[in-house]
Amino acid sequence: MGKGIFEVLFEYYPIFLQGLLGTLKFAFIAVFFGTLVGTLVAIVNLSKNKYVSAIATVYVNVLRGTPLLVQMYIAYFFIPMAIPALNSIDKVYYVLLALILNSSAYVSEIIRGGINSVDRGQIEAARSLGMTASHTMTKIVLPQAVKNILPALANEYIAMVKETSLAGTFMLYELMYTRTLLANKYLVWQPLFIIAGIYLVVTLVLSWIVKQMEKRFRKSD
């Protein structure tokens, strides 16, 4: 069995800490840009032009219907091959790109649901005041949609923290990658439990934060 879990944790905590920072960094990037792209995809998806909305539907279906790991492999190997000009760019970014796009597909479906959940009368009232379509979207629809979808969105973000573990496969320094580092020191099973424990603490803390935010949001009802 070798060393105990806590022994390993105390001895190598800087490595885990750096892994955690990597995980949080990648999750934040995926969530932030995934939400931006996802919002755009949702709006395109809601277009009255059915050809335009079909593009978004295909986008969402492909990204949700294939495994993230496969998407990461394709991004990692295929993009630099297909576009040699991009060869000089660090491959980390391609893995991140896959994370972002994957996240955007899930987020866009949540946002689309949220936009649809806003009462049509709200849109009519805004338009009848002479508000432009884009102002109606940003000032009336999206703020109410966000409130409706906050729990679903938060769950997606928390899931994204876990999804980033796949990035370790590509030698990106995040939590899961610490396993590879410590395996070189013949520590095989202890890092796995430590990593699992850290993920658990992070997701529980995030869930708690989201609950507090929801409570504050509910105040304006």
Binding site: E124, S128, K139
Partner: protein, 250 residues
């Protein structure tokens, strides 16, 4: 109020038609609304009155025909509909106040955003309007804490803040508790008496009779009869009008 003279056409519809799928809701309505006029629209449910009203600011896109507002044909591609809608206030049956904004924000949002009115000026104007409907002490509340009648008065103020040339009311009291109706009707009446052009779809026959210059009876997608309140309520000519009034005036 029947002695006023109206000579400037504000809104004109020409052979306005609207289909929902295969259902013909409006079968060709040609009508003029004059500046300063108070026009009530009555008729049975499903007859097309709300659809007609909603076509006036293009919330419903007409299948055929024209809507001309202040000389501009609204349905033309190069018409900036937002600009014209700023001058066409609308009040809805379901209030449609913005729940995520305070009373003040509800009122000042569109003037600040679309008319580029400075915030302070917009808020000053909003306070004046709120006083006229007795909501000045609710200015910082969210709509969730207002009664139905207060929400509807807020909706009226919100529309008025854009300084419209006409106000459209789509069954403004139909979703209200009975004891809330009078407060809202009083506000509409005050507006009408101030010279605001009003088009009101309503089931409040007594109210329509009292404040209207003209009443339209819409049934089966056409204006079956129109006239002064006295003509229409006291001496209806059309058989359908007679039947409808017999049903609602019991």
């Amino acid at each position: 109020m029947a002695n006023k003279i109206f000579n400037e056409v504000l809104i004109e519809t020409v052979d306005l038609k609207k289909n929902f799928g295969t259902l013909e809701v409006l079968k060709g309505i040609s009508e003029k609304i004059y500046r300063g006029e108070v026009v009530s629209i009555i008729g049975p449910s499903g007859g097309g009155k709300s659809t007609f009203l909603r076509c006036l600011n293009l919330l419903e896109e007409a299948t055929d025909g024209k809507v001309i507002f202040e000389g501009n044909e609204l349905s033309l591609k190069n018409t900036d509909i937002n600009l014209h809608r700023q001058k066409i206030g609308m009040v809805f049956q379901q209030f449609n106040v913005f729940p995520h904004m305070t009373v003040m924000e509800n009122i000042t949002l569109a003037p600040i955003l679309e008319k580029k009115i400075p915030k302070e000026e917009a808020e000053k104007k909003a306070m004046e309007l709120l006083k006229t409907v007795g909501l000045e002490d609710k200015v910082h509340e969210y709509p969730g804490r207002l009664s139905g009648g207060q929400k509807q008065r807020l909706a009226i103020v919100r529309a008025m803040a854009m300084e419209p040339d006409v106000m459209l009311f789509d069954e403004p009291t139909s979703a209200l508790d009975p004891e809330m109706v009078k407060g809202v009707l009083d506000v509409i009446q005050a507006l009408a008496e101030s010279g605001m052009t009003c088009v009101i779809v309503t089931h409040e026959m007594g109210f329509a009779k009292r404040i209207s210059d003209r009443v339209l009876f819409i049934d089966g997608g056409v204006i079956a009869e129109s006239g002064t309140p006295q003509e229409l309520f006291d001496h209806p000519q059309n058989q359908r009008t007679k039947e409808f009034l017999a049903e609602v005036l019991y």
